[in-house]
């Protein structure tokens, strides 16, 4: 196991490298998250950055070297990730590959699957997307209706997936599809595919988001034929593999290849952004009512940060076992939404400006961040569904 000193040295090394290699402002909007890659221009820029990160040895550090990794302890990747956030560098954009498909293949894939897929994920050459959600079953993955029918050496896919990140740029999709509509439990009828995207009958249509930007597609499958070898595991294991996939979100510790999925949007920066703003001729940061609101946000922010640390100390979680991890998504995403809304609200007239305005505070960063925040309070189970889950699982309240 690495010593404290080794880790400290590594931290310094990464920080130095990032300092030296952080890309200059390209003069066009960069995505705040991997769900905002909407132009070839952005794609090229981010691909180059990810390749650079990987070449420097800061992506896939815990993966085996034969697949493009370095076989290092996961802690090194965690450190690198933290330094990337701190340095404010762009995202490592191929997130579905790095953080979802990659770790899954790395953990459960066959040697063939590992050889075929892992390295391209790290270099950014092979962009991955996910096909889990469907238009009619937003928060209810288990009811997915997209059909996969075995026909000889192929599966024939029919149906529609939505919220396919970079569906129009991706080479592969992790696809949840129904192979057995008659299964007793609906979950047992699902299977998991590592599907190619450049196949006749697969048609990803870009979705314009409320921000005005792109980043997702709705993906239509019309008798699309994919090789039967794309099935991961066995038929009927789809639900299991999808749930496993969603567990990798916690980052390097869970086996993800690392890099930033989201740029850091911190409360400290939000308060900083208000430095120049005045109300009634006085700095808005001197307004007692504003200060009170900001302190409420700071307190919540601190409570959540401390909560993340408390959640792993058993003696300090005796009252409501499981509440901290289970409420984590609900609380952080709602906090982010409130914080970003406040950021815009406190800008005075500048709050009405958007991203193409030269005078917009931080280039309209907070307007965009606020609108974008709904991706997290809606995606991955709406806040309302999250609250149900917490109520039922932690408090034991009836369905």
């Amino acid at each position: 196991m690495a010593t404290e000193q080794q880790l400290a040295n590594f931290r310094e090394e990464v920080a130095g490298w990032l300092q030296a290699n952080k890309p200059a402002d390209p003069g066009f909007l960069l995505p705040q998250s991997f769900m905002e890659v909407g132009s070839e221009q952005q794609l090229d820029f981010l691909r180059e950055w990810q390749y650079k990160l990987w070449s420097a040895g800061y992506l896939g550090m815990a993966w085996a070297s034969e697949y493009g990794g370095q076989g290092a302890e996961p802690i090194f990747q965690s450190i690198a990730n933290k330094e990337m956030a701190r340095a404010g560098v762009p995202i490592a954009f191929n997130v579905i590959g790095l953080g979802w498909a990659g770790p899954l293949i790395n953990d459960l894939g066959t040697p063939e699957e590992k050889s075929k897929y892992l390295k391209g994920i790290l270099t950014g050459e092979d962009i991955w997307c996910q096909g889990f959600s469907e238009p009619d079953h937003g928060s209810d993955l288990g009811s997915a209706q997209c059909r996969a029918v075995r026909d000889g050496d192929e599966y024939v896919i029919n149906g529609t997936k939505i919220w396919t990140t970079m569906g129009n740029y991706a080479k592969y999709m992790i696809l949840l599809a129904r192979t057995n509509p008659d299964a007793e439990r609906k979950y047992d009828g699902l299977s998991f595919f590592l599907s190619p995207m450049q196949v006749p009958g697969i048609d990803p249509q870009p979705i314009r988001k409320l921000t005005g930007e792109y980043g997702f597609t709705q993906t239509y499958f019309n008798d699309a034929r994919i090789p039967a070898s794309c099935l991961m595991g066995e038929e009927g294991q789809g639900w299991l593999l999808a749930m496993k996939t969603l567990q990798y979100e916690r980052g390097a510790e869970a086996g993800a290849a690392g890099g930033l999925s989201f740029i850091r949007i911190a409360l400290e920066d939000m308060i900083e952004s208000l430095q120049g703003i005045k109300r009634g001729g006085e700095p808005v940061l001197k307004d007692p009512v504003v200060r009170d609101e900001l302190m409420q946000l700071v307190i919540e922010d601190k409570a959540l940060s401390v909560g993340d640390k408390r959640s792993v100390i058993s003696a300090l979680t005796h009252d409501y076992r499981g509440s901290l991890p289970l409420s984590n998504k609900y609380r952080w995403t709602e906090h982010a939404r409130r914080m970003r809304q406040a950021a815009v609200r406190l800008q005075g007239a500048h709050g009405s400006l958007y991203v193409k305005d030269e005078q917009a505070v931080g280039g309209g960063f907070w307007q965009r961040a606020y609108l974008q925040s709904f991706s997290a309070t809606i995606g991955g189970g709406t806040s309302q569904v999250q609250a149900n889950i917490i109520a039922e699982h932690v408090l034991g309240l009836p369905k």
Binding site: S139, G281, A349, S352
Partner: protein
């Protein structure tokens, strides 16, 4: 302690205007037309403007001597509520406020521009030199026959035939009436407004002005202050209309979308916030209508001021709450540009700052109620 009058009434004019406005806005502003204008340079339809002029709306509160109808500015509440409901945006609000400022200046130099507005000229007031709605200090000045200064967030500046520019002249407040055509494109910078139904510009002014363009007088500071308050009320009215449509859009979705086998509108987690939005709208309406009843074309009374502060504070919060929840409750759909929820949320982000945010209005309200 006196929180101000609670009387409320509806005039004959208001009833007629209400019907007319609802009908006209529904006809002129389908959601498709709203969307078609979002990415246009002008942001509004000249034919629509002409219809409003034909209705006599630009001159509604302009004295009859200047070709107007001489009604109370409070009558506009009903018009802007309807326009808000259909997201119909034109330079009408800017024009009405310009007329209000001119009329409230009570100076004869204001007569000619008032007549022009009554006849259909578009106008606007350059209220701001920074992001700070509550700062009345001015950098713009008239010096040696030139008007020099920078104005920001000038609503409808590109469309305006007349731009009213508050400035100082020898330390005294004056209003300079500038022809839009006298400001070149090099001096204009279009804002990217988050509410894409609206247009605004920053202006770098350095112009020759003649004496006839300058309105001077003792009462200008008060006139400007009152015009801002009236602006706050009209925005409150407009945003209350928008909040109604926003809630209707949301409720329609809640009645048709199913999840986990049930209409999502049957879940209290969505149902009860919808009720809270309804109640907030009811409050906004009550406050807006009551403020309208307090309006007069003379100096604003203390109760009128109280009412405007209340209406703007509540209406701002209402549309922001409604817009934010509209996006959330539409789920994935709400995250798309195609869904109308974003139109209301973007409107809300414009509304909350316009003519002062809720906290600023409550601060002024507290002074009126607690310190008198």
């Amino acid at each position: 302690m006196d929180f101000g009058a609670t009387q409320i009434q509806v005039s004959e004019e208001q009833l007629m205007l209400q019907d007319a406005a609802a009908g006209l806005c529904a006809e002129l502003s389908s959601i498709d037309r709203v969307r078609a204008l979002l990415e246009s340079a002008e942001g509004y339809d000249e034919n629509v403007w002409q219809s409003l002029v034909d209705m006599g709306w630009t001159g509604l509160a302009i004295p009859e001597e200047q070709g107007g109808a001489g009604l109370s500015v409070g009558e506009f509440v009903t018009i802007f509520e309807a326009m808000g409901k259909y997201l119909l945006t034109t330079p009408l609000m800017s024009t009405v406020l310009a007329a209000e400022l001119l009329r409230r200046s009570s100076e004869s130099a204001a007569h000619a521009p008032l007549s022009a507005i009554a006849a259909g000229s578009k106008a606007t007031v350059a209220f701001l030199e920074s992001e700070d709605w509550m700062d009345a200090s001015l950098g713009a000045r008239v010096e040696n026959g030139r008007l020099i200064g920078r104005k920001e967030h000038v609503a409808d500046a590109a469309a305006a035939d007349l731009i009213l520019v508050p400035a100082t002249e020898n330390g005294a407040l004056v209003i300079v009436v500038v022809e839009g055509s006298s400001i070149g494109s090099e001096a204009r910078c279009a804002h990217d407004v988050i509410d894409a139904t609206r247009r605004a510009q920053a202006l770098n002014l350095d112009l020759t002005v003649t004496d006839s363009q300058i309105i001077r007088g003792e009462g200008l500071a008060l006139a400007l202050d009152e015009t801002r308050l009236i602006g706050a009320l009209l925005v409150a009215a407009e945003s209350t209309g928008a909040a109604v449509s926003c809630l209707n859009t949301t409720v329609d979705y809640l009645k048709t979308r199913k999840q986990f086998g049930k209409l999502i509108g049957s879940y209290q987690a969505l149902k009860h916030p919808a009720v809270d939005i309804l109640c907030a709208i009811d409050s906004s309406k009550s406050l807006v209508y009551q403020a309208a009843a307090e309006m007069s074309n003379d100096r604003l009374s203390r109760d009128a001021r109280v009412a405007c502060h209340m209406a703007k504070s509540k209406a701002s919060e209402t549309i922001l709450f409604a817009g934010d929840r509209a996006v959330q409750f539409h789920g994935g759909m709400g995250f798309t540009y195609e869904c109308d929820a974003q139109l209301y949320l973007r409107r809300a982000l414009w509304v909350q700052q316009a003519f002062g945010d809720p906290v600023a209005h409550r601060k002024q309200l507290a002074s009126l109620l607690l310190d008198a």
